[in-house]
């Protein structure tokens, strides 16, 4: 088991280096020197030089060949490319261009709000969709099944923005059931996250139920289910005792695969409900063209995702003894 975990950790290294390469290409190679954008049109040469130095754009791009020819090995690697790798990997991000606060501090202070929204939404979504999927699998082939599946497809065809806008307008503004927007930390937070959570669950339900239905119906085809029915077990018993247990592996997969979906949901929900989480930080950075923040967010979220996949794989190995790396 330990050797499995270590090997699995080693597999994550090239991926993380790859993410760093992509962010380098995106934020250093393609845009070129952003100092002029940041400083504005009428900036003096000193201001631009100052910004260039602060962002490290005065350094050579890949390798300081001059220093290398002089034999100063350490100085040779003081380039944009290696600094990008070193600083990002150690989470030593530069300061934000707009607030001038260290980005990592900002991310840390915003993570609790994001989590307060995302965790209940996620758990609610998974639990509700598994429950509905069980009902659908129980009623497979009947009109209940057909209608529920159709509703799911309708639900996943409507864009999330429409759910949010209609929900916020009618449920919060017109009916006044929920606060329209805002956030407080502590127990008060639940008042504010209730509606965003509900909307997140509503917009995701369609695709989740449909996926879990497929998973459960796949399981229903297998031999052990036929055996269970043949020996006279009741349908609910087969569903809960056998099918649900065996469907756990695909369900664990979706837990991690849905992290990107959670980001999308959180981004838009945080924006609309003024929740001071990572998503709204990310979107604000777009509006102010704050590219160090975007770079940091891309890396941090990818890191979280890779770690999530790692944990899933380890869970697999714990749940299913047949799984191992080559």
């Amino acid at each position: 088991m330990v050797s499995y975990i270590i090997r699995r950790l080693l597999y994550a290294i090239p991926t993380i280096l790859g993410v760093l390469l992509i962010t380098f290409i995106l934020f250093n190679l393609i845009p070129g020197d952003p100092s002029y954008d940041i400083a504005g049109k009428s900036a003096s040469a000193e201001t631009i030089a100052e910004i260039r130095r602060e962002l490290g754009f005065d350094k050579p791009r890949f390798l300081d060949t001059e220093a290398l020819s002089q034999g100063r090995i350490a100085a040779a690697f003081d380039s944009q490319f290696f600094n990008h790798f070193r600083n990002t990997l150690t989470l030593n991000f530069p300061r934000s261009l707009t607030s001038h606060e260290p980005i990592w501090d900002e991310i840390k202070s915003r993570a609790p709000a994001s989590l307060t929204l995302a965790a209940p939404m996620f758990i609610g979504l998974i639990a509700t969709s598994i429950a509905i999927a069980l009902v659908v699998a129980f009623a497979r082939g009947s009109w209940v099944d057909t209608i529920l599946v159709f509703i799911c497809v309708v639900g996943m065809s409507i864009p999330m923005l429409s759910y949010i806008l209609f929900g916020q307008h009618y449920l919060a503004y017109e009916l006044g059931w929920f606060p329209i927007l805002g956030y407080e930390s502590g127990m008060q937070a639940f008042k504010y996250i209730a509606l965003p959570c509900l909307l997140g669950i509503a917009s995701g339900l369609g695709s989740y139920v449909r996926f879990y239905r497929t998973v459960m119906l796949d399981e229903m085809r297998s031999d052990y289910v036929r055996t269970a029915f043949a020996k006279g077990l009741s349908s609910p018993r087969v569903l809960f005792k056998h099918v649900l247990k065996n469907a756990m592996i695909p369900i664990i997969t979706t837990l991690v695969l849905s992290i990107p979906f959670l980001f999308l949901g959180s981004l838009l929900l945080e924006r609309f409900f003024s929740i001071p989480g990572m998503g709204s930080y990310f979107l604000d950075a777009f509006n102010s063209r704050d590219f160090p923040v975007i770079n940091a967010m891309v890396f941090t979220t990818s890191l979280l995702y890779v770690l999530g996949q790692l944990v899933t794989d380890i869970c697999y190995a714990l749940v299913d003894p047949r799984i191992s790396l080559r």
Binding site: V19, I22, P31, S157, P260, T301
Partner: protein, 306 residues
């Protein structure tokens, strides 16, 4: 009943190609036919907009501002007195153009990479697998927004990137992973099949084997994959345009939703409703056809359940 008729046809041994058979299966279901008609109507509207026949004067006011939907004003008017109905029709052009071109870009990247990785194995395979694992490990929405942010206002081969070209380029460049992985897996299975061995023994070049023999045998996966992907492309366009990273100066459905956000607080729900209805209807039809295509083209799923 039709299902039974189809199976008996096959049992009698009337030869029919996979595609002809799939087409017959599609047409045998009323809901699928209705969805195909809906999609055809949307495509025709989009072509009409391109030809200048439909919604050409969408930017002209047709009446007072904020008119409710009525017989006179159709879907109502927006904050500049423009017709919401015309804007909705115009949006079909943007959405379908984005979805089509993004698919094209994404197939052009994903199909060859997947086929090469699956056929050659070895270090090429490992490199390509590394590439798509990496791209895949950045959450999709973050990746797409970061790409849009960086590419905005740049030039590509002297062609300035702005508005709709950023949208389809970004979606295309970020969404090839699923197809690539699928094709790689399938080609890995095909490369040692007898027909490939025969082609190899016959002295076909590797490019001929891949292009002429293997790819035609996995092509149906591309169609299945993209009929379902179209929906996510349309939704991605909406989000990008809504966030101001996409279409500007033209009424896409995302732009309409953005406009509607301010109108909603005056009680004007119709622009949002029109955009939602258009997106919902098109995506519903695409979802139904996509599912039906998968059932029709993938013989493994045909046995049915019980």
């Amino acid at each position: 009943m039709t299902e039974a008729a189809l199976t008996s046809d096959i049992a009698v041994g009337k030869g029919r190609s996979l595609w002809a058979d799939a087409w017959r299966r599609l047409l045998s279901r009323k809901l699928v036919v209705a969805s195909l008609i809906v999609i055809a109507v949307f495509v025709m509207v989009a072509l009409g907009v391109y030809a200048g026949l439909i919604a050409r004067d969408w930017s002209e006011p047709v009446g007072p501002r904020y008119q409710r939907p009525s017989l006179e004003h159709g879907f109502g008017t927006d904050f500049l007195g423009r017709s919401v109905w015309r804007k909705t029709l115009y949006g079909a052009k943007i959405s379908l153009t984005v979805a089509f071109l993004a698919s094209l870009i994404s197939i052009c990247i994903g199909l060859p990479l997947g086929a090469i990785a699956g056929y050659f194995k070895g270090w090429i395979d490992e490199l390509i697998v590394w590439l798509f694992t990496t791209v895949n490990s950045i959450p999709y929405i973050i990746l797409i927004l970061a790409f849009a942010f960086v590419l905005q206002g740049k030039t590509l081969f002297g062609y300035p990137l702005r508005g709709i070209s950023v949208v389809y380029l970004v979606i295309g460049l970020t969404s090839w992973v699923g197809l690539c992985r699928l094709i790689r897996g399938e080609v890995l299975k095909h490369r040692d099949r007898d027909y490939v061995m025969a082609a190899r023994a016959y002295g076909c070049s590797r490019s001929r084997i891949i292009l002429g023999h293997v790819i035609p045998n996995v092509a149906h996966l591309v169609i299945i994959n993209f009929s379902l992907r179209f929906v996510s492309f349309i939704h991605a366009e909406v989000i990008l345009s809504f966030l101001g990273l996409g279409v500007k100066g033209e009424p896409s459905w995302g732009v309409m939703i953005d406009d509607a956000r301010q109108e909603l607080y005056r009680g004007c729900w119709w622009q949002l409703a029109a955009a939602t209805l258009a997106i919902g209807l098109l995506c519903l039809a695409l979802n139904i056809v996509g599912d039906a295509l998968r059932d029709a083209l993938d013989p493994k799923l045909r046995q049915g359940l019980e």
